[in-house]
Amino acid sequence: MIGLEIDSTINTDRNATRSFVSIGGIPIATVSTDPQLSLKVEGAMNRFLVEETEPDITISAALDDLSDDVNGEMLFDSGSLWQVYRQNGNYLFRFTTPHFGNTPYKIASFNQDFSIGEIRLHRPYFAEAGAVYPLEYPLDELLMLNLLARGRGIELHSCGITDEAGEGFLFVGQSGAGKTTTARIWEKMGTVKILSDDRIIVRREVDAFRMYGTPWHGEGELSAPSSAPLKRIFFLKHGTENRLTRLGKVEAAARLFSCSFPTFYNTDGLDFTLSFFDEMTSTVPCYELSFIPDQSVVEFIRENDR
């Protein structure tokens, strides 16, 4: 496993055998090494397709006859679709569904630094499926979380908005906090850009933090492959008036952690994530935003930002 050699001559239809996406400034290449497997990209991920480039990670994909057996130490069980194992120094993600029992529908393996990957799709499930998106959720997001945890950045359950000046506002909150509501209110302004109404990546630049849109949007289906310098962080709270409360860095870091997607099975990654929040909350002003869900909150924030 992970003896990856990419043969681009397997199928001369380039569009069907290779795809390149870039999320959070991290290019990802997927290559079909199986003449029977055509690739596609789905949904909002299409907005993140890029021209062929030098990727941070190259992933091969092929059909295979998978078995129930996994050799290796289980590191983490999501309690749902996936588990992750440590096997021969690699990370192995196993995806199952109650519909098909214990036989996984997909297994994805990655080397230690997540620079090389291999996806095997269970042939009986996918042989008749036509073109396939091998990184199908939640693998695409799990992959990104692991890439970020290796010193690149973090992802937050949040809505990201870029204003007319090109500055970024991050509205953080768990499900039901008002992220999509916030995105729709700001969208009505017509002069701002919504990077995502549900998931935002934040990375460190030389002297600032930058937020990036992701394809993992919320009910508003709002996402964009853009980025902006991060100016303010707001933790959303439904209220009866618009009110801002400045948060201390410890409080803010704890709230960020609760709205992040930590790689609980990777100690170094978890340590990096915590250190990242330490830096973020030392640099970027953080507030609790109690808000009324109408246009008044936009003006309220603008006034307080002057």
């Binding site: 679709l81 569904t97 997909k106 993992w216 860095k249 409080e251 704890a254 992040s260 997607f261």
Partner: protein, 81 residues
């Protein structure tokens, strides 16, 4: 200053625990002694099903709702946005 341990959940007022771990240097002797603030633990409200991507995103997203869920009928109906 070397930062060790996971300190985020340990809070003394609004003082980062790193400040409590600072090693004394010669200049510290000249500084007035800080008043002691009892550390306290703060519970972080995690939602496991969201934090570990255990639930499917809505059908409108690029997720299993559109391929494994539909194409090969993976049982996946919970919105995870």
């Amino acid at each position: 200053m070397k930062i060790t341990g996971q300190y985020y959940l340990l809070q003394a007022g609004d003082t980062d625990i790193r400040e409590l771990k600072m090693e004394k240097s010669s200049t510290d002797k000249d500084q007035p002694k800080k008043s002691y603030v009892k550390p306290r633990l703060r519970q972080v409200d995690l939602r496991p099903e969201e934090a570990v991507l255990g639930a499917c995103k809505t059908g409108s997203t690029a997720g299993p709702a559109s391929s494994p869920c539909n194409a090969i009928a993976v049982g996946c109906s919970t919105a995870g946005s």
